[in-house]
Amino acid sequence: MISQIFILSSKGDHLIYKDFRGEASKDSINVFYEMVTALSGDQTPVVMSHKDLHFIHVRQGGLYWVASTKTNPSPFTIIEFLNRLAALTKDYCGSLSEKSVRMNFALIYELLDEMVDFGYIQTTSTDILKNFIQTEAVSSKPFSLFDLSNVGLFGAETQQSKVAPSVAASRPIMSSRGEQSGKNEIFVDVIERLSVVIGSKGVLMKSDIQGEIRIKCFLPTSSEMRIGLNEELSIGKSQQKGYSSAVRVDECRFHQAVKLDEFDTFRILKVCPSQGEQTVMQYQLCDELPCAPPFQLFPSVQKDYVNRVLIFLKLRCDLPPKSTALNVSITVPVPKGSVSMSQELSSPDQTAELQPKNKALLWEIPRFPGGAQLSALFKVDVPGLSSASLLEVGPVSMSFELAKQTCSGLQIRFLRLAPTQTGLSQRWVRYVTHSDSYTIRI
């Protein structure tokens, strides 16, 4: 059971504090903050103990979400609960930041009051909670031209002509209560996290996809929705490899509210989405990617003059020509003691900088179209360079975001709401792949 729950900003300001059992004093917030900031790099912060009080915390949105307890509960339960609390806060407040938590403190207290009583978790379902929550969310979204420039970032397969701005989904779910009456929208996101290790000769050593289908629902009443996946989707490793067209996942798990009676034959998920965000399906795929990894790197590292390393990087994007990788950033470790760097980049919107503290150089490319090839030359000055120092260059790590693209090939064929649905509702399907960890050895 939970003694206290508190939310702290990264600077240690108290944003939310609720004591459920009166077992521990309020000082424990300060004790926690001192402990968490005093930790050294290799210590594990997830569970910490002070006398007989144990703190469990997660970090989300730059905030500390902390639960304290005097008993010995299941760590999975507490951590998943804290994550759920953060997700609910995001649903109700629109976004997750220090500012939004501060502005919506009354709402969050109301939520906590209904979710936990006397330290016991009562409910975290949006359907039940929405009956009890009275406070309106205060949304803190300033208008910005930047939002408009992002139009077209996510594709909407169902309605090609209309494209929702990327921030459309980050608004409070309860806003429909007000008179400006938010649109009846439903977003279905297919999100994949890709982690790849490519060996020194371009050999794919590890590839791993963690994917999920996430629904964000702004419909005021819930009705059954049918989500059709690729018909040729196969699950498990036993399938023959000859079928190149088949989309395969190793394993998948569903939200308990998903009805699967049509899944085996038609690959249709039936679900009654409740308001807010929920993950209806999670899936994994190990080792056998259906397509080539999105990026290939051709590096060459040479010693130039006495104290200079030449790093020439050629980066090819193997995506189909229609799609684009966004916010690509490449981190290359450089020898210890590097002092300065000069670079030759192929276009002016790219940037590169040397970060001596991290012993790395960072190359950033805002947009990288599929099929393109970019190259860059870096000259790094390293006083006291030896030939062994070249061994310190590598492995290269990359982070990027692929819009309108899933690496597993999973697609949503259709999205159908029950005909009883009143009023016009808009349905959006978005695909995005994030790089969880993308490492290329040199």
Partner: protein, 695 residues
């Protein structure tokens, strides 16, 4: 208010505001009151009237809200005001109010912990376990657990357990995992019932919520402790959800998953073998996750994946964080004990980087490698000789010196490296390095006197005449006087075994029984790395009989040992000794007592012997594996302020009478003959019991 400002002065105004109808305002006022009620009990009493009025409101939401907040007032004397609304709330039509009222009973009890338990309320709560609302059911369990804490918590008998099992599907995931924890204390009467229960729960092993899957697994491990096949099957089923948490988006969840994977691997090292790539570190992961992943990778190495794993670990060695780099090097060193050749290549390559922290870590890895795996000595010595630059931190310096001293005859440059250290002695700050240098100099002198005599003389002179640190000076004097006694005498004292003597280290990789860790599975203690006070005393008590060897031996030993012991002594385990400490003490101490035990070494399995000795509070440190003729074991224990170390020996040609019977040699610090006699007789009776059992 929540940001730490004291606004309690406004309490009076708040009492007035609480009479408003607006529900948002009501909620905020209630929040305020609960925070300050304990500071202003007299003013809070004024608000009670409003609360009681709200408890009779037609809107169930208002009723529940008022009742919940009224019970949250933590001040003395509240009980008389809240008892009546709670009892009314237990019979309310709305499930929302019943939920609040049920927990209200627990709150009321915690306000007055010492009062008599109200039998009527307890019965009412037991009856409410049949409530149609699932949250009410779970809240009843929670409330009963708290109210009946002194009597061992809520009683889960057969009807209740079966009722709960049938309701499992209606509960939400939080309630499911909590009910699963409550079910831990239920013991099915027969195997048939047990398997019915397990097959009902089987679907939950694959739950999409990790906490439910893990809670189910814990219950499986507990219930099926007599059926290892069922346990293994459950572990196999849960391996997929566990692996999924290891790749979860939330890093805290990832860490928790990794800790549990590590625990499962203690018994089933092969379970995750094919998934070793899941444990490759992502570059953006925090260090504490990377550490865990490396520990797991080391355990998963086998013939097929060793090349890939080593390549992966190699890429961590140049990480920005020195701690991580050192941990990666140490991990390669662990793998080197099995695959020495490949690892040595990598480690040698790392020396070329000429980075202080890497060099130091590599040298330390070499030391451990030479100690545990003597066949790699020659290769290591070659590398050390070729390594020109020396480590800069004191830990690394000590290690290098140790290597030079132990294997000076194989490293031709040893005297010259040492000379460098002796010349730089004045600027050396660490006394540990100086002491190690003294030892090394003496050891090297023993094998290569011609080259080192001069520098040893200079070193001893400096340390005795000029050194200010007492420890270093004493050590130098000790060696000086030892050398005066003659070279042979010195050799006898200084040289020890060059590698781990022919014993298997018990802490090595072997499959532990599941019962060893099942009680901490899915608890916080596992994550914080140390034992937490186990609140679930009932569970741990129930776990004990599953250790079957212990149970069988217990009555025998307790019966026989008092008969055989002339004088009562009590043994205790105390803090564990490390192998190094034990070895050092064993070499330093004299044998005080030697005795033939009159029985051969027991033919039972090694862990049975270990468990049996543990039972009488004797700790086994190490012993020879298998059925070798010369069999040795090292054990230790503590008794009334004295530490007893002992060696058990069988089949030693030099010791008379050790062919058929074990000979025990005892060393002790400080001397206490009484304790030794007691120890010997306890040991004797344990061994006799074991032999009777096995024959």
């Amino acid at each position: 208010m929540t940001q730490g400002l004291d606004v309690s002065a406004l309490f009076m105004d708040m009492v007035k505001a609480s009479a408003k109808v607006d529900i948002v305002q009501k909620k905020l006022v209630y929040l305020y009151m609960c925070t300050y009620a304990s500071d202003k009990p007299d003013l809070a009493l004024l608000a009670i009237n409003t609360f009681r009025k709200d408890c009779a409101d037609p809107n169930p939401m208002v009723r529940g809200l008022a009742l919940r907040n009224m019970c949250n007032f933590r001040m003395p004397g509240m009980t008389e005001y809240i008892e009546q609304p709670i009892v009314a709330g237990l019979r309310d039509k709305a499930s929302y109010v019943r939920r609040v009222a049920v927990l209200g009973c627990a709150k009321m009890h915690s306000l007055q912990p010492n009062t008599e338990i109200d039998g009527i309320i307890v019965n009412e709560l037991y009856a409410l376990l049949r409530d149609p609302d699932p949250v009410v059911v779970v809240n009843c369990l929670r409330a009963l657990e708290e109210i009946l804490k002194d009597e061992g918590g809520v009683v889960i008998n057969k009807p209740i357990a079966h009722h709960l099992l049938n309701r499992m599907k209606d509960l939400d995931s939080w309630a499911q995992s909590e009910v699963l924890t409550f079910l831990l204390r239920y013991h099915p009467r027969s195997d048939d019932e047990l398997f019915d229960v397990l097959s009902l729960l089987h679907a939950f092993l694959q739950s999409a919520h990790a906490h439910v899957a893990v809670a189910t697994l814990r219950l499986f491990l507990h219930l099926a402790s007599a059926h290892p096949a069922v346990q293994a099957d459950a572990l196999l089923c849960t391996s997929a959800p566990l692996l999924a948490t290891c790749g979860a988006a939330s890093r805290e969840l990832r860490f928790t998953g990794l800790c549990h994977v590590q625990q499962v691997m203690r018994s089933q090292p092969g379970l995750f073998g094919t998934h070793y790539k899941c444990f490759f570190c992502g570059y953006s992961e925090p260090t504490y996750i990377k550490f865990r992943k490396m520990e797991i990778l080391v355990e998963l190495v086998n013939d097929e994946n060793v090349a890939l794993v080593l390549e992966e670990l190699r890429s961590y060695c140049t990480d920005v964080s020195p701690e991580l780099a050192q941990a990666a090097i140490a991990a390669i060193g662990r793998i080197a004990r099995t695959y020495s050749e490949k690892c040595l290549d990598i480690l040698t390559g790392l020396l070329a980087l000429k980075q202080d922290h890497i060099t130091s870590a590599v040298i330390q890895t070499f030391r451990d490698l030479v100690w545990f795996c003597p066949q790699s000595t020659a290769a290591v010595c070659q590398t050390v000789e070729a390594c020109v630059d020396s480590p800069q931190d004191s830990e690394g310096k000590q290690t290098l010196l140790w290597l030079l001293g132990e294997h000076g005859e194989q490293i031709s440059s040893a005297p010259y490296v040492m000379e460098g250290y002796i010349d730089g002695l004045k600027t050396e700050l660490s006394s540990a390095v100086k002491m190690e240098l003294l030892t090394t100099a003496v050891k090297t002198f023993l094998c290569r006197p011609a080259e080192t005599q001069d520098m040893l003389g200079r070193l001893l002179h400096y340390c005795i005449e000029e050194e200010s640190d007492v420890c270093v000076r004493d050590r130098a004097l000790l060696y000086y006087r030892l050398l005066q006694r003659g070279v042979e005498e010195t050799r006898k004292v200084v040289t020890g075994p060059k590698s781990d003597p022919s014993m298997s280290v018990l802490t090595g990789r072997q499959e532990e029984p599941i019962s060893q860790w099942a009680s901490t599975f899915n608890t916080l203690g596992l994550l914080s790395g140390r034992d937490l006070c186990l609140q679930t005393a009932v569970i741990s008590a129930a776990d004990q009989p599953s250790n079957s060897t212990g149970k069988e031996l217990l009555p025998d030993v307790t019966l026989s040992s008092p008969n055989d012991t002339e004088e009562e002594i009590s043994l205790s385990l105390g803090p564990p000794l490390s192998h190094e400490t034990f070895e050092k003490m064993w070499l330093d101490l004299e044998i005080l007592h030697r005795q033939t035990l009159g029985s051969p070494r027991p033919r039972t399995a090694p862990d049975t012997l270990q468990a049996a000795l543990q039972l009488v509070k004797i700790q086994t440190l190490a012993f020879t594996p298998g059925d070798t003729v010369l069999w040795k074991a090292y054990i230790y224990t503590r008794s009334t302020g004295t530490l007893i170390l002992a060696e058990l020996l069988q089949g030693d040609p030099q010791a008379p009478g050790s062919d058929e019977s074990l000979v025990v040699s005892v060393k002790q610090q400080p001397v206490n003959q009484h304790a030794i006699r007691g120890f010997a007789s306890i040991l004797k009776s344990v061994l006799q019991t074991l032999n009777v059992d096995s024959s």
